[in-house]
């Protein structure tokens, strides 16, 4: 379980992508990303919640109090239309960036 430092922008993108299907609460988001990346990317609360609040202020996600399967109150975050557009943009620029870096790394 190595912890990899990722940039804030990439973190935002990951969170947005995670939310692209269903609304989730903060813990679930962090859990999902850990599971998907095989524990490579572990997002601590100190990064997660500031990021969530920041994105909420920017209008990319919307928060709503809801109830979990265990009947507990939790704050669920949902992707907005602006957020979806933002996600598309970030994904495309990230893909371009990684392809470019890969090209450089491929040369001997």
């Amino acid at each position: 379980m190595t912890k990899v430092d990722i940039l804030q922008g990439t973190l935002d993108m990951l969170v947005l992508k995670t939310l692209s299907n269903d609304p989730m609460h903060g813990f679930a988001i962090a859990l999902r990303i850990r599971q998907l990346t095989d524990e490579v990317i572990q997002i601590g609360e100190g990064s997660l919640y500031p990021a969530l609040y920041r994105m909420e202020l920017k209008g990319w996600i919307k928060a709503e109090w809801g109830v979990t399967e265990n009947n507990r109150r939790a704050k669920y975050y949902k992707l907005t239309r602006t957020g979806r557009k933002q996600l598309e943009g970030e994904v495309s620029s990230y893909t371009r960036l990684t392809e470019a870096i890969a090209k450089v790394l491929q040369t001997a």
């Binding site: 609460h25 903060g26 813990f27 859990l31 601590g44 609360e45 100190g46 919640y49 500031p50 609040y53 920041r54 202020l57 920017k58 209008g59 109090w65 507990r72 109150r73 939790a74 704050k75």
Partner: protein, 885 residues
């Protein structure tokens, strides 16, 4: 551009959300806590599910969670606007500090209220008179069309002039004009006199103002068989009770029925309300129907709307060209005047502009002096709070933070001062309305409107920053170690003293300038009162009557009226004599008329323009007024309607046009007829005590064709006690004749100097306030300086110095500062009073007597202000002084 808008929108949106969340801060915090708690619980559950024992599970979860407080803070920053939070903090603390020092706060607030209030009041004058748009459509496309004389810049056009300019017009989309027309409105309980205007049909469409009710004139209204009238809003309210049914009813004006076709909205006026004595018109009739339409005389107030794209310069040039062309075609019409069109926005009287500018500068000075005093107060207060600042700095407050907090206090002070200042301004405006009635154009529009309030707020904020900066900066500049050690008593030393001295120099200089300005105005006013008006104004009553046209159309009728009325009036006990005059001195002047002198062709140049004021009088006029007859004879009953045309000229006329010859027997032509000169009389200052003498011509009443006239009556004692008897006599001759505008001659004279008196009182008041504030400031600084030197005084006196010597030493030092201020003030006054030269009368802007007297006055006040605190300090025995630690 789109991207920019997007960013802007996002920024505003984010700001807005932060502001909102600021309000719901506590709710947010609770939610955040709950969310964290939930996350923690889930983490613990997961740990338990993974098989970690309970205690460890909880501990691991906590550790993973990190520093909760720090997290909260970071998250909080996401939600809140740091800036506003600290601002609110500063405001609360500042308010508390101000309340803790009530004396200081009170003095500072009052001082600031004076400064800010006075500035607000003057700004509202500027706003009402200059900044408010005139009540017409697109007023900057309008120009008033005047003609120019050497001493009169704005002369109305004669009907011939108007026609000629209209004929050759290239630059105006439309031209319109109106002349004064006056009516007796009968049909009510009492006949009243109404001032009105006879307007061309083009005038109302040109001005572009929609009537409140009904319509305005069209070409068809020029029909003498169906006369129409438009009422002003004021007349409609005052005389017709605002009754909408007045539309299409008729009213009787000068014994003729006029149909009311419209009512104008409240703000509408024509002629434009920009001259010094605004003529408020209450009704408008078509010009062709005006009963007093004259063919001659410069009576038309003309206005033109420029075609789109035409500039003011182009219009000026075009009119000058038109005049040239006209004179080329008719050289005989040349009478030496030039055209002078003025754009409407620039039309406000120059005299008023200068007076207001001077007053604006004066209140600015007062504000500066007030600020200087408050700075002094703040410096002292900051010294007392040194310990507090040292503590703050030790706790980690940066210099900027302390400065910001002090600035917040200053701005709070000045906002409070501004609030009270508004009250003061309100009071001042009320006083303006009372004292300035009739003197200032657009007086009713001078109110505390939104723009004025914004000005007051902005000024308060600015002032707060201005006077707060220096003391705040100085207070923050503290030596931590030293201050905390010495218990905070040690004051900041020479730096602050130098600042205080500088402030005193500034205050004294500014006060002297104001005092000199006021002094010069006082002297001018006094000189003005000494001027000989050319007649005896005491115990002289004047009133006006209007002879309605149809009844008095025949000259014979008017002659009979004159004789009957004057006989009756002269017969009243207590009345010495009575006479008629169309335009008495110090009232509204007559229209100017072009004239020709037989045998004297007109030389070129406007200095030689043949234009003069004509006055129509009854035979006893000169005797009643006390005007000396210099040559020839006065009018007599022999100069009747059928008799040969005669005239009497004034002395100025004689000396101007008949140099070295006897004017008697020469003939002049005015208004189409030739008159023989039969007398020369002494000059009268018709236009005002400070006006220049200009030529006048008098004509006999019976020959003059005059329908409106003033009656002057000389009585043995208080003229006003005779009014009822006089009215009775006049109405005995004609029942339907109202008398109005009843004044004594001294009242009329007072009216003409009222504007001057008004300026004088204001400037004088400001100067006195400046003097007092400066004295208080000097007193404060001297008290402070002396208190600091109590030790030193004690030592000196213990070592044998007499009280007098110590007094002289300390006061001498103080006076040196004052002397510097006086010197700078004198230089400043010499430089600046040049600017108000046109407001002065027979006083040089460098009048040495005034300067010396006021400098001595200020020096005396300063001396007193220095003396009192120092004397008090030296009264304390040397032992007590030494004991002060």
């Amino acid at each position: 551009m789109n991207r920019l808008l997007q960013y802007l929108f996002q920024f505003v949106w984010r700001l807005w959300r932060r502001l909102l969340s600021l309000l719901r801060r506590r709710g947010h915090e609770r939610e955040m806590e709950e969310e964290m708690r939930f996350h923690l619980e889930m983490q613990i559950e997961q740990n338990l599910a993974a098989g970690i024992p309970a205690e460890e599970a909880r501990f691991a979860a906590r550790r993973q969670f990190g520093n909760q407080t720090w997290l909260k803070e970071v998250s909080r920053e996401m939600w809140s606007l740091r800036f506003i939070e600290t601002l609110i903090q500063d405001l609360r603390f500042g308010a508390r500090m101000l309340l803790k020092q009530p004396g200081f706060t009170l003095v500072a607030v009052l001082t600031l209220a004076l400064g800010i209030g006075a500035n607000t009041a003057i700004f509202s004058v500027i706003n009402g008179v200059f900044l408010r748009p005139l009540p017409y459509h697109e007023p900057d496309r309008l120009m008033m069309i005047w003609e120019k004389l050497p001493r009169a810049e704005q002369v109305e056009l004669s009907p011939t002039d108007y026609e000629e300019y209209e004929k050759r017009n290239q630059v105006f989309a439309q031209m319109g004009a109106a002349e004064g027309a006056n009516f007796n409105l009968t049909g009510g309980s009492e006949p009243i006199h109404v001032d009105g205007q006879a307007a061309t049909a083009s005038l109302f469409p040109l001005l572009g103002v929609q009537p409140l009710l009904g319509r305005t004139f069209t070409k068809e209204d020029d029909d003498a068989n169906a006369p129409v009238v438009i009422l002003s809003h004021r007349l409609w309210q005052s005389h017709f009770a605002g009754n909408r049914a007045i539309l299409n009813q008729t009213i009787r004006l000068n014994d003729k029925s006029y149909a009311v076709i419209g009512v104008m909205p409240p703000e509408f006026q024509y002629p434009p309300p920009v001259r010094q004595e605004p003529i408020l018109s209450d009704l408008w009739v078509p010009r062709s129907l005006a009963t007093e339409t004259r063919k001659y005389g410069h009576i038309l107030k003309t206005i033109g709307r420029l075609k789109s794209g035409v500039t003011y310069e182009q219009a000026r040039a075009a009119l000058a060209l038109a005049l040239q062309q006209r004179l080329q075609e008719n050289p005989k019409e040349h009478n030496g005047i030039a055209t002078n069109p003025i754009p409407l926005p620039a039309q406000v009287g120059r005299q008023i502009k200068l007076a207001v500018q001077v007053l604006a500068a004066a209140v600015l000075f007062v504000l500066l002096i007030a600020c200087a005093n408050v700075v002094n107060l703040l410096l002292s207060s900051a010294t007392a709070r040194q310990k507090e600042f040292a503590l703050r700095a030790a706790l980690g407050a940066g210099r900027f933070r302390i400065v910001r907090q002090l600035l917040t206090e200053s701005v709070l002070l000045s906002l409070l001062g501004g609030g009270f200042g508004l009250l003061l301004a309100y009071g001042m405006l009320k006083a303006f309305h009372v004292f300035g009635a009739g003197q200032v154009a657009r007086l009713e529009e001078i109110t505390l409107d939104t723009r004025v309030l914004m000005f007051a707020t902005a000024l308060s904020l600015l002032t707060g920053f201005a006077f707060g900066l220096a003391p705040a900066w100085q207070a923050a500049r503290i030596n931590l170690n030293q201050t905390l050690k010495e218990g905070g008593r040690h004051a900041s030393g020479s730096g602050s003293q130098r600042l205080r001295n500088l402030l005193i120099v500034a205050e004294v200089a500014l006060s002297l300038i104001l005092l000199v300005g006021a002094g010069l105005l006082i002297k001018s006013f006094w000189r003005l009162q000494q001027v000989d008006p050319g007649f005896n104004p005491d115990n002289l009553l004047t009133l006006e009557i209007q002879l309605p046209y149809p009844k008095y159309a025949e000259a014979r009728r008017r002659e009979t009226f004159q004789q009957a009325t004057l006989e009756r009036l002269a017969a009243l006990p207590g009345v010495q004599s009575a006479a008629f005059i169309s335009h008495p001195p110090f009232g509204r002047g007559p229209g100017l008329n072009d004239f020709k002198i037989e045998g004297k062709p007109v030389p070129l140049g406007i200095a030689n323009a043949r234009i003069a004021g004509q006055r129509i009088i009854s035979s006893d006029y000169f005797r009643t007024m006390g005007i000396p007859l210099l040559e020839g004879r006065a009018f007599s009953s022999g100069d009747g309607a059928e008799a040969p045309r005669v005239s009497i000229i004034s002395q100025t006329f004689a000396t101007k046009y008949f140099v070295g010859e006897n004017p008697l027997g020469h003939r002049i032509q005015m208004g189409g007829e030739w008159f023989t000169i039969v007398g020369v009389v002494g000059e009268v200052r018709h236009a005002g005590l400070d006006a220049e003498l200009s030529p006048h011509v008098y004509f006999p009443f019976a020959q003059g064709g005059q329908f409106r006239t003033r009656v002057v009556i000389r009585t043995h004692d208080d003229p006003l006690s005779y009014v009822a008897a006089i009215r009775q006599q006049i109405q005995a001759v004609d029942r339907d004749l109202p008398i109005y505008a009843v004044f004594t001659m001294n009242q009329l004279i007072a009216q003409t100097v009222a504007q001057r008196r008004f300026n004088l009182l204001l400037l004088g008041a400001f100067a006195v306030v400046a003097l007092l504030l400066s004295a208080i400031g000097i007193y404060g600084v001297m008290s402070y300086a002396t208190a600091r030197r109590t030790n030193e005084i004690g030592i000196r006196m213990a070592l044998g110095a007499s009280r007098g010597a110590v007094l002289r030493l300390i006061i001498g030092q103080g006076l040196r500062v004052v002397a510097l201020g006086l010197l700078i003030g004198l230089l400043g006054a010499l430089a600046l009073t040049r600017w108000m030269k046109t407001l002065l009368f027979e006083v040089r802007a460098t009048d040495p007597l005034t300067y010396t007297a006021l400098a001595l006055l200020l020096a005396g006040a300063a001396l007193l202000a220095c003396f009192i605190p120092v004397r008090r300090a030296t009264k304390v025995g040397p032992m007590t002084a030494l004991r002060v630690e």
